[in-house]
Amino acid sequence: MRNKYIESFEKAQVADKNIPDFRAGDTLRVAVLIKEGDKQRIQNFEGICIARRGEGTGETFMVRKIGANSVGVERIFPIYSDSIENITVLRKGRVRRSKLFYLRGLRGKAARIKELKKK
């Protein structure tokens, strides 16, 4: 259990953050705020969430996508960071573990994840 003072310090910071409910296996679109000099723009990063780790303001998640020339690209984002404009859940995946690092060793059709059927 975390210290109550650390918890309240972190809770105050994340209070107005609206993070959707997602877990490993879900396909996400992460809108990342990018600052270039005095300009800023939003860049989307779309891929499968392969892990969530940490707690409180230090919690992060990993998104994996297959980039150009079928090179795997992974990015780690802090969930509550101010540089994340929003997170959209595009698809819920049916997976049986919380860390999907086995996807790194698979390619093409084998690396697909079934969609979660709602009951």
């Binding site: 210290n3 003072y5 650390i6 309240s8 310090f9 972190e10 910071q13 994340v14 953050k17 705020l33 409180g56 303001t57 230090g58 802090p78 509550y80 960071s81 101010d82 540089s83």
Partner: protein
Amino acid sequence: MEYIVEKIGMSRTIAVPSVPVTLLKVVEAKVCEVDESKRAIVAYASGKKMNKAIAGQQKKYDLSAEFNRFVTMDVVNAEAGALDTAPLSEAKNLKVSFNSKGRGFAGVIKRHGFAGGPASHGSRFHRHGGSIGNAEWPGRVQKGRKMPGHYGNAKVTVKNDVVSFDAENGILAVKGAVPGANGAMGRVRIVK
């Protein structure tokens, strides 16, 4: 101005760039006696230590039984009463003093940052200090030679910027790390 604080632990902010913070709880303290130069005797509670000398001081200053520690420090209060924490709201930079974590009898690698030698290939020189001096002249070891010995559990002071101060709960967030273990008692002094 000085305050008694307890180290709670570390966290971080979500701003860009994220700032690592250490949370310190300002311990409730009572000013017993102040002189003209604002030096004061301050009482606070820590543990259960009690003896006749403490009981006598408590009777003298009309304190309740849990205030069993007394220190001398700079305050803003003009008279006896609860310690005034208002200056912490405007503080920007602090000197934070804690007893560092004790490492016991430590070797030169941990204590002084010596590089040590290779672990293998028959080097026969692993984690010791090596030569400690010259030959028949000067025939002694130079003063200040870095050697193994007791390391840690000594007062260490660092400067930290203040990130926020929650006056209601007495929680002070400072940027960066602070010496000592979580739960340890220390002091902060306002630099500006």
